[in-house]
Amino acid sequence: MATLLVEIVTPEAPLWSGEALALIARSSDGDFTILPEHTATVGDLVPGVLRVQTTEGELSFCVHGGYFQVGTDDKPEETRATVLAGIAEKVTDIDVARAQVAKEAAEAQLAASSRGESTDAVTERLAHDALARADLRLSAAG
């Protein structure tokens, strides 16, 4: 029987890997589902919640943008789906209080730069990213 092997990898460490029934996520082309024997695919992931259905239930991961690759390595009956995300976490691991604090800090930073207090483009972009991450975490956990 064909199986689907899902690996979720971040730069710091592999986050999760195991056998799954389906992988549901969203790329910039729209929502998609990967099932066993899916054709070889390479694509991106927009920030959002990625779901992995296993025989023991469904796992949700908060993925802050990334890429995925689907293919078979050596064994044709084994489909591999590798998810590469710069930042990702299990939805159950999200620290709501910390995300709230990060959201407020990012908003304060953006408010300061919109008032013209700091014009550093890099700081501003990092604050934008931080705000987007905090919002996604809060909506995923909440």
């Binding site: 971040t10 592999p14 390479v42 694509g43 990334g66 293919g71 483009a121």
Partner: protein, 297 residues
Amino acid sequence: MAGGQERILRRRIKSVQATRKITKAMELIAASQISRSQARIFANRPYRHGMQRIIVEAALGDPAAAKKLLATPDVVTSAVVLVIAGDRGLSGAYNTSALRAGERLVQQLQREGASVRLYCVGKKAPSFYRFRGMDVQQSFMGFVDRPSFSDARLIASVVAAPFIDGEVQKVLLVSTRFHSAGSQGVETEQLLPLALPDPVLEDAPKPLKGYTEFEPEVEQLLTSLAPRALESEIFSALLEGAASFHISQQRAMAAATDNADELGQTLTRIMNRARQDSITTEIMEIVGGAEALRSGK
């Protein structure tokens, strides 16, 4: 007097032993950090390889787009050089060899007629380059021992900015790569435009057989992939730099401990001889005195 020399020697031995304690402690600390930083490199590998694999896939999927986005420009009038060194010294040649290699690269680019913007990582870098009259645009420090991915993201966004704005045609990285616990070396690699992983390397990702679908189009995918791949490459360079730093420090401190042992031994021998000499002199004096008393009777 002979007793005075003995006291001076005893003091020097004590100081050598105190130094040995410090170098031994640093050696042990560095050794414990080695395994930790090595584990982080291994934990990062799946991500890095996955990234490289996606780039290879995308480049094979649409060679025309890949040529446009990945090809090295023929004429380079301006380039960014990023040098990764350490925050702390007492680590053998780790800092200097990376910094020197960076200096040579900058000089070579300048000879070829390109202007260079220098960025560096590590506390040791700015003073090195300033002393040689080279301008450092920005330096990052404080995380070199235990780099996190957000550090890599920050560096990536800073060094990529002039490339994205079209001000430079190339971004180069000079860092110490970790091949194994026994071998590390300074290497230069091209960060932007993205370089395809060397197919000669044994662990280079192999492309999948057959047809691959892309979501979105390859050109769009590669464009958005470039900054992420840059972050990934910088992060792995930081991790490998950290591991190389700890190995280099452990080696330097082990050598220093051995030296202290040897010096302590030599000094102890000299001190023992000095003590023996003073005892001999004393005996001679006593014997001489007794002799004088007897002959005086």
